[in-house]
Amino acid sequence: MRLRRCARGGFSLLEMLIAMAITAIIVVLLSQVLNSTGALWKRAQRKIDAFREARTALLRMTSEIESTLAVDGLPSLALTGLYSQNDPAGSQGNQQAYLLLAAPNTGLSDVCAAGYFCSWEPELGGYVLRRYFADSDTVARRTRALIDADDIRFLPRQIYPPGRLRENSEILGAFIWNLRFEPLDAEGNPLPAYPQTYADGVLPAALQVSFDAISPRGPARLEGLEADPAFWFLPQSHIYLRQLAPLKQHFSARVALRFARPR
């Protein structure tokens, strides 16, 4: 009687060894690819994060700056360092812009105030971009008080009071710094340097807005920068070159002011 070979399925050792070897090779290759992809993804994600926040912030800023109202008798656009508290970079490092615009709000009318500035956040260890906003009731109240007092010399500081900017602001994006505003005329030439206040219905033709940003996830590996705000404005420093430069994204937009009236 011929023994029949057992028909039970299975792999021989050799098969197993070959399969395991192939699998091992594949796993190794895959892990390398995955590692590489992961690193790439992380970098892309950081860039995307940075772009997302910064781009959103930039879009919002440009949208509002574009709508800056030319209001007779009032400072429509103030490029000034009204906010210096908690901003070690001061106006030379981070510039500020405040403006009047028509926006939906809970007040009785439409003319509101908005502003953009960077503040140093010790807990974060970096700069954040803030947006100040005052509704139309607030703007009207402050303006009326000034007109009643017949004291319009300090209108910009009254409509955009330095002491209340931070508390009435929201964060548009973290790790954003080197905020700059450059007014331009109709031919694109720079107008007198910052700071500058445009009042009585006069506005520059355009405003160039720019800032630097890194992903909020990036600074987890930053060392030393979180302790010293000054490093963020020392592009030649070792720390800056090693840690910020590889992560930094520069954002810039030129905004034509809709209600521009030449000075």
């Binding site: 028909a7 039970r8 399925g9 299975g10 792999f11 709508s67 109202l69 030319a70 209001v71 007779d72 008798g73 009032l74 028509a102 926006a103 939906p104 009785l108 009318s109 439409d110 003319v111 139309s136 009207a140 303006t143 009326r144 007109i147 009643d148 809709r258 209600f259 009236r261």
Partner: protein
């Protein structure tokens, strides 16, 4: 028997692994596809949003381009509203569309129309577009709020195809987007940023119509609209709106909500949106595209003849430049050089009257026959009939209207062939003021009478009273009254009937030596010593004013006829006869000595010389103006009106009558003299029209007894846009303006005026706001029938109805002065509400016109562009599905850009955005 072994089940996991891999791959693919779909959707949505926003911006640009083109294509344009029927499911719907009208091209009669809404074909509204296919620019109905029903902001879609150059095809070249726009004229609304007078008590103060702040906000329906009268709620709200403006200017429309915030009610701005704005700017250019000339800046007080002439010439040149037909208002059929000469002379006379109406001095502007401005009196008999002055302006000056002497024999003692005598001669000079402006003489005013009575006393020779010079400081002649200036200290005791009751005197401070004369005479007649009348040696001016500015301030008008003797015959027969005097009087008698003049005779023209008749014996009835009178009124010939302005020349409070002087009633008119800057360009209606009839000789025309027909329909009604259209007097209001005298070149835009043509849109609400705000003071500053009057609701309604009827009959108003042509200003029709007077029928209406015309316009330069844009998907059947939508509402101001010459025509219009609505 073979047992068939059951099949061994397959072992291993190759298939399983394969399946798992397949499943995983499927999941990955599905996830990937899902992600791709999501990304595509997101990308597409972003793309749509970006595209539709770009399209909306593009639509705004298209709307701006059309509007700017419409404004610049012809400066004679006007913004109007037009009713357009469109097919609707239920029949026909009527759209009220904004349109720019331009004068017709040569050879055509209909004005050109450029619609301020999107139309597929440029400038033309489609004929059969259905109502439901029109884009709704105001889906929530807030813009179109209207108290008589919904106001539809609908305009045709402009479709954008994938390939604009290819033929339309739903499949191969479908519609991918579409847009529509509506350009809203802001001047059809009340600008609560500037309107609504206020006073210290917080209430609305009606005004004279000179400023846009006189417009009554209370007329807006939202402000608790009530008919005219006491309306505390409306006034209170009105005052709140105004007072808010002083604490904080209205930066944008919603600031109105701060005037009277009421948490429980609808925000004020939402209610007023259809009727109110803070962006109402009108174009202050003439229909010829030039800045209107500010008469208040052009006319200045001046004594230099060259500069005076330059002012007159400037006014005349502007008229002739822009209205070349104007000079032939009453000579339309005349042609050739003679027509041109007459036209030029007519315009010069108008210009002279305009100057004297505005300048503050009392010196009439006089251009002699050569055109030179006279600065020194002309001695003698006034104007020779063959060399009349070219122009003689009317002024609020003392007019010498009568002159009289009285002479009394105080004593007469005959001694043989001679007699010693003592006589008193007193003089009476009646000065009148036939104007609406009080005449007040300056402290330096002096009266000099040089051509005084003379007499011959035989061997004593020719004796003559010395010239008289006396101060007239402080003499005031009220409007329409006369004052007798006399040397007679007992003038007030003259019997009634000699001097008019109530005569006002000014007794000159003269000594007896200047009025009482004594001597002896051996002149004999009929064996009686007498004093004979004697002619003066020369013919100097009889009377003249002099002030610190020299003898220029009053022109002499007392002239003698032909050097005749004038004086008295004394013979002692009336000594101690206190009731008997000799009166030697002269009054205006007209056209002396010219005989060809048929338009003078109007003392308001200041061209009328007084005639001194030849010497008379003093017998009653010998000559009407030289007579002897006694205490008995029966002896008084009755021709003297000394002390009263010649009846029926002037009565206080009476106004120019529209009828020709030939009717005998024009004499009731006071001349309107402002002697101050114009407060309304409508005051040009006060200017004397030197020639009202086609007959006559323009050279001699100074009066006419009628003002320019501004505020009254022209009697010679010209066809609209015809060449003779420029003969209408009201067209002067288009080329001239009244503003602060410091503004030589007026701004090309003005804020707050109301577009007359807006009545179709708002049922006349804005126009009612103008009418409600008017305040009429007291005569003569105000027409008597309107004294302390406010227009009644009936009158207001009649006015608006009249405007609407005019638009329906003759088309929209092209110029503000065209308002003169509405039936409301037609004197043949009674005013509603009983206002008006049968004796001064037109004056009442003219006065209303004068107030209104300064507050209205026909040319807007601020517009709100409402845009809706959509990206769409077109199905094979042609139907459209909206993918995304964007809206824009932006206010633009179109500022005129003048050419290189500041006084030249506009070159273009520049659109400047003023405000963008954040949301609707």
């Amino acid at each position: 028997m073979k047992r068939r072994r059951p099949p061994v089940p397959a072992r291993g996991f190759a298939l399983t692994a394969c399946l798992i891999v397949l499943v995983l791959l499927s999941i990955m693919i599905v996830a990937f596809m899902s992600s791709v779909r999501t990304d595509r959707g997101t990308s597409s949505a972003f793309s749509d949003i970006a595209r539709v926003n770009l399209l909306a911006e593009g639509a705004v640009a298209v709307a701006l381009d059309r509007t700017a083109t419409a404004l610049a294509a012809d400066p004679g344009h006007a913004e109007a509203w037009e009713e357009t029927p469109v097919p609707d499911a239920g029949g026909t719907a009527t759209l009220i569309l904004p349109v720019v009208l331009q004068p017709p091209l040569p050879g055509e009669t209909d004005p050109r129309r450029i619609y301020l809404v999107s139309t597929p074909e440029r400038d033309r509204f489609p004929a059969n577009v259905a109502f439901e296919d029109l884009a709704d620019l105001d889906p929530d109905g807030q813009l179109g709020l209207r108290f008589t029903g919904p106001f539809d902001y609908r305009a045709p879609w402009v479709e954008v195809r994938r390939d604009p150059a290819a033929a339309p095809d739903p499949v191969r070249n479908p519609v991918v987007a579409r847009f529509a726009y509506w350009v809203e004229d802001e001047t059809v609304k009340v600008d609560y940023g500037v309107t609504g007078n206020d006073n210290a008590e917080g209430g609305f103060r009606r005004g004279e119509g000179a400023r846009t702040s006189d417009i009554d906000l209370g007329a807006l329906p939202l402000l608790d609209y009530q008919p005219l009268g006491d309306d505390p709620a409306s006034r209170q709200r009105n005052a709140a709106v105004v007072s808010e403006r002083f604490s904080l200017p209205y930066l944008e429309p919603k600031f109105l909500n701060r005037a009277a915030p009421d948490p429980g009610s609808q925000p004020l701005e939402e209610v007023v949106r259809f009727y109110g704005t803070v962006f109402s700017f009108s174009n202050e250019l003439s229909s010829f595209g030039r800045r209107r000339v500010n008469l208040n800046a052009l006319i200045e007080d001046e004594t230099d003849p060259g500069k005076i002439r330059a002012q007159v010439d400037s006014v005349a040149e502007i008229i002739q430049r822009d209205l070349p037909e104007f000079g032939q208002r009453f000579y339309p059929a005349l042609a050739g050089p003679d027509a041109a000469r007459r036209a030029s002379m007519y315009v010069t006379k108008i210009a002279t009257n305009i100057r004297d109406y505005i300048d503050r001095d009392a010196q009439p502007t006089i251009l002699d026959a050569t055109g030179s401005v006279l600065t020194a009196p002309v001695a003698g008999d006034g104007w020779p009939g063959d060399e009349p002055p070219r122009s003689l302006g009317k002024e609020a000056a003392p007019y010498l209207t009568e002159y009289a002497w009285t002479a009394r024999e105080l004593s007469w003692q005959r001694t043989g062939p001679s007699a010693s005598y003592r006589i008193a001669i007193d003089q009476y000079l009646e000065f009148s003021n036939p104007t609406t402006t009080p005449v007040t003489l300056p402290a330096s005013a002096k009266l000099t009478v040089t051509q005084r009575p003379a007499w011959k006393a035989g061997s004593a020779g020719r004796l003559r009273m010395p010239d008289l010079t006396a101060s007239l400081a402080g003499l005031v002649i009220p409007p329409g009254q006369a004052v007798v200036v006399t040397t007679d200290p007992e003038a007030a005791e003259m019997p009634d009937g000699i001097l008019q009751p109530g005569t006002k005197f000014m007794i000159l401070p003269v000594t007896d030596d200047e009025r009482i004369f004594a001597g002896a005479t051996d002149e004999m007649e009929n064996d009686q010593p007498i004093l004979r009348p004697e002619s003066p040696v020369a013919q100097p001016p009889v009377a003249q004013w002099s002030t610190s500015a020299g003898p220029y301030d009053l022109y002499p008008h007392l002239a003698a006829e032909g050097g005749e003797q004038r004086g008295f015959t004394f013979d002692g027969s009336h000594v101690d006869d206190s009731g008997v005097h000799y009166l030697y009087a002269a009054a205006l008698s007209g056209n002396v000595p010219a005989t060809v003049v048929d338009r003078t005779g109007d003392p308001r023209s200041l061209s009328e010389p007084l005639a001194l008749p030849p010497a008379q014996t003093g017998e009653p009835g010998a000559v009407a103006s030289a007579f002897r009178y006694t205490a008995s009124a029966a002896d008084f010939p009755g021709s003297s009106t000394l002390g009263r302005l010649d009846s029926p020349l002037v009565e206080p409070g009476r106004w120019p009558d529209p009828t020709p002087r030939a009717d005998g009633t024009a004499g009731n008119a006071l001349a309107f003299i402002a002697d101050q800057p114009l407060i309304s360009i409508g005051q040009l209606g006060d200017i004397y029209d030197p020639a009202r009839e086609s007959a006559g000789v323009i050279e001699y025309a100074y009066g006419g007894g009628r003002t320019l027909a501004i505020g009254q329909p022209e009697r010679r009604r010209e066809e609209k846009f015809s060449p003779g259209w420029s003969r209408s007097a009201w067209r002067l209001t288009d080329i001239f303006a009244a503003a602060g005298a410091e503004e030589a070149l007026l701004p090309a835009t003005h804020r707050g005026k109301i577009n007359l043509n807006g009545v179709l849109r708002d049922d006349g609400t804005a126009l009612r706001a103008v009418l409600r705000g008017l305040s009429f003071g007291t005569a003569p500053r105000t027409a008597p029938a309107l004294e302390n009057h406010q227009l009644t609701p009936e009158e207001t309604d009649a006015f608006v109805d009249s405007v609407r009827a005019y638009i329906a009959e003759r088309g929209p108003f092209m110029e503000r002065g065209e308002l003169s042509e509405i039936s409301f200003f037609d004197r043949a029709r009674p005013l509603p509400g009983g206002t008006g007077s049968s004796t001064v029928p037109d004056r009442t209406r003219e006065e209303i016109f004068r107030r209104v015309v300064e507050l209205v316009t026909t040319r807007s330069c601020s517009f709100t562009v409402h845009v809706v844009a959509e990206t769409v998907r077109q199905a094979a059947d042609g139907s459209l599905t909206t993918r995304s939508r964007a809206r824009r509402s932006i206010v633009y101001r179109f500022d005129p850009v003048m050419g290189p010459d500041p006084a030249g025509p506009v070159a273009s219009f520049r659109a400047t955005p003023m405000f963008a609505w954040p949301s609707r």
